[in-house]
C-alpha cells in the first residue's frame, strides 16, 4: 500500500519547524506504524539528501512508554473506541491505500521538542521525584505477607500502577494537564496500606511539582482517558482531587 506522510521536521528546540511531505510505496497492512516510519527513513536516505526522521521508540510492544506520536491529530493514533494502543502497536491495517497521514510530536509547553518528533518528558520524572514513592530503604522491609492487601485494593492499585508514563494524556489535553499521570500514581499508592504514612505529603508535593512544571489544570473533558494506552480511568483525577482536599483539610 501507499501512504503520504506529512511529518513535522524541526532541527532542534530553538528553531521553528514545518511539515514535510513524503510519499512511500510498498507498505504492508501488517506493519506497525513505527515500522512504516523505518521504511520511510530508508526511503529518505535512498532518495533524498535529508537526514532521517527522528522519533522515539524502544520496546515496540506497548509497555516502555517511549513512543510518542500524534497521528492524524490523535496521540498514539488510536482514536474513537480504539484506546489501549501505543504508537508502536498501531498497525497500518487502520489506514487505507492512498491515505494521507499527519505525524506530529506530543505538543505541550512542558514537553519541549528535541528534534522532529522527539520531545523531552523529563518533567514526569521530576514529579515522581517529589513523592511518587514509598520511603523504604533496602533491607528494612518486613515479611511480605505481614501486611494483608485485599484483592480489591490490589486490583485498584494495579489498574493505576499500569501507567507507562508516555504523556499521551498531556498531549491530548487542551490545557496540557498531567492530572491523569499524577492521579494514577497518587491513587496507586493511596490504595495500599504501605502508602498511608506519606499519603498527605505525597499528594501535596506531587501536585505542587505538577504545577511548577507548567502543566495546566483539568477541565474534565476526559480527552486523556480516551487516548490512554493503558485505559487508566479519569476517576483517578477525581481521586487525586479528593486526596488533595483530604490532605489540605487535614493540615488545617
Amino acid at each position: 500500500m501507499q501512504l503520504t506522510f506529512h511529518i513535522w521536521r524541526q532541527k532542534h528546540k530553538d528553531t521553528s519547524g514545518a511539515f514535510n511531505t513524503y510519499t512511500v510505496d510498498g507498505l504492508s497492512a501488517d506493519m506497525s506504524f513505527l515500522e512504516a516510519l523505518d521504511v520511510l527513513n530508508e526511503h529518505i536516505i535512498a532518495t533524498t539528501s535529508d537526514e532521517s526522521v527522528a522519533f522515539d521508540y524502544d520496546c515496540r510492544e506497548g509497555i516502555c512508554g517511549t513512543c510518542s506520536l500524534v497521528i492524524n491529530g490523535i496521540p498514539h493514533g488510536g482514536g474513537k473506541g480504539k484506546s489501549g494502543v501505543t504508537s508502536c502497536q498501531l498497525h497500518l491495517r487502520a489506514f487505507k491505500d492512498g491515505d494521507h497521514v499527519t505525524v506530529e510530536p506530543f505538543r505541550a509547553r512542558s514537553f519541549p521538542v528535541i528534534k522532529d518528533l522527539v520531545v523531552d518528558r523529563s518533567a514526569f520524572d521530576r514529579i515522581i521525584e517529589k513523592g511518587g514513592f514509598i520511603s523504604v530503604n533496602t533491607g528494612s522491609a518486613g515479611d511480605a505477607n505481614a501486611t494483608l492487601v485485599s484483592q480489591k485494593a490490589a486490583e485498584q492499585a494495579f489498574d493505576t500502577a499500569a501507567c507507562i508514563g508516555c504523556g499521551a494524556c498531556v498531549a491530548s489535553c487542551k490545557n496540557s494537564s498531567a492530572m491523569l499521570f499524577v492521579g494514577a500514581k497518587v491513587t496507586h499508592l493511596a490504595s495500599l496500606p504501605q502508602g498511608q504514612v506519606e499519603r498527605s505529603q505525597r499528594v501535596k508535593q506531587m501536585v505542587e511539582a505538577h504545577d511548577k512544571e507548567g502543566f495546566g489544570a483539568c477541565s474534565q473533558t476526559k480527552a486523556c482517558e480516551a487516548v490512554c494506552p493503558k485505559d487508566i480511568s479519569a476517576h483517578s483525577i477525581a481521586q487525586l482531587n479528593k486526596e488533595f482536599l483530604r490532605a489540605t483539610l487535614a493540615a488545617k
Binding site: 532542534h12 504492508s28 497492512a29 501488517d30 506493519m31 506497525s32 515500522e35 523505518d38 527513513n41 530508508e42 535512498a46 535529508d50 537526514e51 532521517s52 527522528a54 524502544d58 520496546c59 515496540r60 510492544e61 509497555i63 516502555c64 517511549t66 494502543v85 502497536q89 498497525h91 491495517r93 528534534k115 523531552d120 518528558r121 523529563s122 514526569f124 520524572d125 515522581i128 521525584e129 517529589k130 511518587g132 514513592f133 514509598i134 520511603s135 530503604n137 533496602t138 533491607g139 528494612s140 522491609a141 518486613g142 511480605a144 505477607n145 484483592q151 490490589a154 486490583e155 492499585a157 494495579f158 500502577a161 499500569a162 508514563g165 496507586h188 499508592l189 495500599l192 504501605q194 502508602g195
Partner: protein, 646 residues
Amino acid sequence: MKFDACIPQGDLSCKWKTHKNTMKLVAPANRAKFKVIVVGTGLAGASCAATLAELGYQVEAFCFQDSPRRAHSIAAQGGINAAKNYSGDGDSIHRLFYDTIKGGDFRSREANVYRLAEVSVNIIDQAVAQGVPFARDYGGYLDNRSFGGTQVSRTFYARGQTGQQLLLGAYSSLQRQIGLKRIKMYPREELLDLVVVDGEVKGIITRSLIHGKISRFSAHVVVLATGGYGNVFYLSTNALGSNVTATYRAYCKGAGFANPCFTQIHPTCIPVKGDYQSKLTLMSESLRNDGRVWVPKHPTTRDPSSISEDERDYYLERIYPSFGNLVPRDIASRKAKEMCDEGRGVGPSGLGVYLDFSHAMKRLGRKAMADRYGNLFDMYHQITAEDPYTTPMRIYPAVHYTMGGLWVDYNLMSNIKGLFVAGEANFSDHGANRLGASALMQGLADGYFILPYTLANYLASEQLQLLPLDDVAFEQTEEAVKGRLKSLLAIQGKSTPQHFHRRLGKIMWDKCGMSRNGEGLKEALAKIDELEEEFWQNVCVRGDSASFNQSLESAGRVADFLDFAKLMCVDALKREESCGGHFRKEHQSPQGEAQRDDKDFSHVSVWQYPKQDQESSQKGPSSAYAQEHREALIFDNVKPSTRSYS
C-alpha cells in the same frame, strides 16, 4: 591471566553468611567520600543505584533511554521466583537452587546460584514494601503460580506485567534518591568507553544523545548493568535500543567475556511477517498448558481449518509422549525449527508452527479460556489481525535472553578492578539456559542485596584515588571515542546501519542460532568479516555528532555487534558439546537430544580481547582471534545429570 571466582570457604549454605560477616565495611561517615557510577537503570542498575545512595555513597547513574523507567526490564511478563514457600508445597532455598542449576544444564557456579536462591526471599519483601501490586488471594495474602519445569508454586506475579511493576518499584526508589540529591541522573546519555589504568577502572566517557556532547566522569567504582546482547540477532524480543556496546567496550579494555554463545531462544513468539520487521513479540509460555503444537504431515499452504486430524503431526506429543507440549524451552524451539526446515512450516513465510486451542476451547469453553489467556489473545489479535479463539496461533522461536556476559567473580567484580557487573550483563547465574521467572530475581538480587555488600568490601580494602578528569588516560580515551564517531560520519556510504544490522542478524540466526555446527560457524565467521568490511566502507550516517542523531547512535552499536558476533561464533565453535541453549549438531544422542560433555567442557569459557596487531584499523583487532581462558566448574553439592523428557 587467572580467572579466580574467589568463592568463600565453608559449607554451601553458609558461604554468603560467612562472607557477609567477614567482608570489610565502609563507615557511614566515610561513604560520601566514594563516587560510584552505575550504567543502566533496569532492575539491576536502578536497585543498585538507589540502595547505594540510601547508604550514603555519591552515585551517578546513566541510561540511554529518555527516562530510567523505560529500561527493558519493563517488558518482562510472567513473574519472579522466590523460595518463600508461602504455598506450603515443600519449596525451599535448596530446591530453588537445585532447579536453577539443573535448568542451566550444570554450567553455572554452585555458590552464586545458592546465594541467588537465598536472597530471593528478601526481594519480595522489599518490592511489597515499595507498593508493588502483586496478585493477592481472597484473604489478602500473596498469590503464587507455577512456572515452567518446576514442581512447586513459587512465582510471584502482577498480572502479565511483573517486570513493569518491579521496575517501577526500583525506579521509584531511584527517583526518591534523585530528589534527595544523592543521585545525579543522566538520562539520554550513552556510555561509549571506559577509562582503565593498570587494570583498574577509573571512569567512563559518555555522549549526550540530545546534543552530542562528549563528557568524562571519574569514579572509584563503576557498575555496568547494561543488559544482554540478544539484538546481535537483529530480531529478538529485546527493546530496539538494547545493545552490547558497554560490555563490549569493557571487553576491549581487558574484561573477560564469559560464555558468549549461551543464548536463550524462546519457543512461543509471533512469527516474522516481512523484511521490514523490527521486533518480535513474545507470547507467554503459559499458553503451552492448553495449546497443542502441530504442523501438517506434508507441506501445504491450505487453511488450517481444512487440514483434518489425520493430516496433522502433533510432533511434540509424538516425540516426547511423557512431557508432550510442555518440554523445556530449548527443546520446543529446536523442534519447531526442524519442522520448518523440513518444509512443513506454516504461514506466509513458512517459518511458523500452529499452537492450537480448539481442543481446550471445546473442553473449557470460551469464557474460561478468556479468563486464562484473554490479554495474550487480544495482543495476538492486535498484531496479527487473526483471532486465536477460532484460528490456531502461529508461533515461532525468537531470541529472548543471553546467559553469557562479562565474567565476574563471586563478588560480581570483573577481572578489571573496580568494574562490577550486574543483571543480564554478567554471566554468573543461569549457566547454559535460564529458567522462566529467574531474570527478574537475579537483576534485583544483584542490585539490592549483593553489590551493596561486595562493593563496600572493595572500597574499604583498596587505597583508591579518583583520576583527575584532565589525566592523559581520559584524554586518550576521549580522543579514541571522538575518532570513532568521526570515522563513522566520514564514510558517507549508501546503506543505513539497520541494513547491516539486519544482514548480521540473518547470518547469526542461520549459523549461530538454535542449532549450530562447526562448518556453519566457520562460514559465519567469514561472512561477518565480509559484512564488517562492507560496513566500514558503505554505511551511511547523515547529520553530525554534535546533535541528536539516531543514525549515529545506531551505527556505533551495530559496529560493536559486528565484532562481538564473531566472538559468539568462536565460542560456539570451541564448545564441542551441546548444553542448554547451545546445541551443536555434531553432539547429539541418537534420539536427537543435546549431549553434554562434562569431562571436557565443565567449565566457563572466558575470552579476552586479542592484543593489537600490526594491521590495526579504526575497528581494532578482530575478536575472531580472542584468547580463551577457563574457569573450572566444581560440583560438590549436586551431581550433574542428563535431562530426559521422552
